[in-house]
């Protein structure tokens, strides 16, 4: 009976889409907020851990080992392990989402900073730059392309994972996917899926633009 109901309907009912633009917009906003919080917190934690790993090289292996295990645990499994403790809450969703950004971000931050030419750092040192100034004014700006590459991967994956958080009640556009499954209504599944892909593409494009604006020197080659 349910199956027949699904067979009869068109793949996308556009009238439903236009009737629910407000809901779609609200879900998109929620999706962005969840992604933004995860990336923001993830970035803060990753920068801190990367600096520790660079200062004390021996900590790098254990840091990537632990974040690697977090990365391997399926998001739904992690959410399920957290639900008894933190409930069906935004906190549960964010703990999961943040933990998946760590491995990607830390790897890229460390690789980016390590990639800065020692000659440049030595020159800065010779000019009397302090360690802190070398980090902030030399290393981080020069590592930006690699760091932003990491942020791009992390943001696209986070946007995808937010849809899974719909299963614990906090999923932005993933809510439509879940509702579509419950009601056997393809339109809602498509809205959730396409919306989430479009969001990922848009954020990725935005980050590319941001990278270009922040690292104008990488473009000089092209203009010559």
């Amino acid at each position: 009976m349910i199956v027949a109901q699904l067979e009869g309907q068109p793949f996308v009912r556009w009238d439903w889409v236009f009737d629910h633009l407000d809901d779609i917009w609200a879900a998109t906003a929620e999706h962005l907020v969840l992604t933004g919080i995860a990336l923001g917190l993830g970035l803060v934690i990753s920068v801190a851990l990367s600096l520790v790993a660079r200062r004390y090289r021996r900590t790098y292996a254990p840091i990537t080992w632990v974040t690697g295990i977090l990365y391997t645990i399926p998001s739904l499994a992690l959410f399920s392990l957290l639900v008894p403790i933190t409930g069906l809450s935004i906190l549960t969703a964010e703990i999961g989402l943040v933990s998946y950004t760590l491995l990607i971000l830390i790897r890229n931050i460390v690789a980016g900073l390590d990639g800065v030419s020692p000659a440049i750092k030595e020159a800065a040192q010779g000019m009397g730059y302090s360690r802190r100034r070398i980090l902030l004014e030399i290393e981080i700006p020069l590592a930006l392309p690699v760091i932003i590459a990491g942020i791009r991967i992390a943001s696209v994956t986070t946007i995808g994972l937010v849809t899974v958080a719909a299963l614990i009640g906090k999923g932005g556009l993933g809510f439509f996917i879940l509702q579509g499954l419950r009601r056997f209504f393809t339109t809602e599944i498509v809205v959730g899926a396409v919306g989430s892909v479009l969001l990922a593409v848009a954020i990725d494009a935005l980050l590319v633009v941001a990278e270009r604006a922040l690292t104008p020197w990488t473009r000089t080659k092209a203009t010559l």
Partner: protein
């Protein structure tokens, strides 16, 4: 944490231990053993089919050097489409094909999900084989087919096996979502736990899925280490790069 909360937590831990200590939860229909085997079985089957579809063209294109852009775009698109969306979209497609609920939509979704990382990593692995080595083989009069099977494939083995590992973990993780399209597997515990507001069952499901994913990663890492040609063993930096290339947490 106040006294009430710590009591509640202790009760919860006791209940989880009781769940695992109860023999009837392990055996029979819907028991841990059956669901785990179901989960592993479908994951392995999907991986097998996806490998059979993705690896041969990736080997061929990697050998000829064509299709680089395709490889990059496939993995990027694959990353942008959420696994949950793939599972959900597989349902109406499966029903329209007359395949119904449960097994087939889950299988379809897992194969679709496994194709991009398998293809792209195999392709890249073959491309990354030292061009001089391939030239030397050609100079020795080896046929293209022999070069691919005898030189490039063994040298790319670490990358290809890493791709299998990374993809297998993703497939095991996503098979959990099969419960939402009426399939079984370990995701059942989580779905049933959610609908009955039974946190013990949710937690048990999460723990089993997490352990299975980590176990899959471990088993395939061991195979990877065994299968690497002796001449390559330590000096390949390729292996470590693969982890983030194409791997998507799901």
């Amino acid at each position: 944490m106040d006294a009430y909360q710590s009591d509640a937590l202790m009760d919860f831990v006791t209940e989880v231990i009781e769940f695992f200590a109860t023999a009837s939860n392990w055996s029979g229909t819907g028991g841990i053993v059956e669901r785990t085997l179901e989960h592993i079985g479908l994951s392995a089957f999907s991986m097998g089919i996806a490998s059979a579809i993705a690896i041969p063209p990736a080997l061929y294109l990697g050998h000829t050097g064509r299709g680089g852009l395709l490889a990059v775009s496939i993995v990027n698109i694959g990353r942008a489409i959420p696994s949950f969306a793939i599972v959900a979209l597989a349902l109406p497609i499966s029903i329209n094909l007359g395949l119904g609920l449960g097994f087939w939509p889950t299988f379809l979704a897992l194969v679709v999900l496994a194709l991009p990382p398998m293809f792209t990593n195999t392709f890249t692995g073959i491309r990354e084989v030292d061009a001089n080595t391939v030239e030397a083989a050609r100079g020795m009069g080896m046929k293209e087919r022999e070069i691919l099977l005898g030189i490039e494939m063994p040298l790319a083995a670490p990358v290809i096996l890493a791709a299998v590992r990374v993809t297998a973990v993703q497939v095991v993780a996503t098979a959990t979502l099969g419960a939402w399209v009426a399939w079984g597997g370990l995701g059942r515990y989580i779905l049933d736990g959610f609908s009955q507001r039974d946190n013990v069952e949710v937690f048990v499901g999460g723990a089993l899925v997490g352990l299975l994913a980590i176990g899959t990663d471990l088993v395939f890492s061991l195979i990877e280490r065994r299968a690497v040609p002796a001449g390559l063993s330590r000096r390949t930096a390729v292996r470590s790069k693969v982890r983030t290339r194409g791997q998507i947490p799901v």
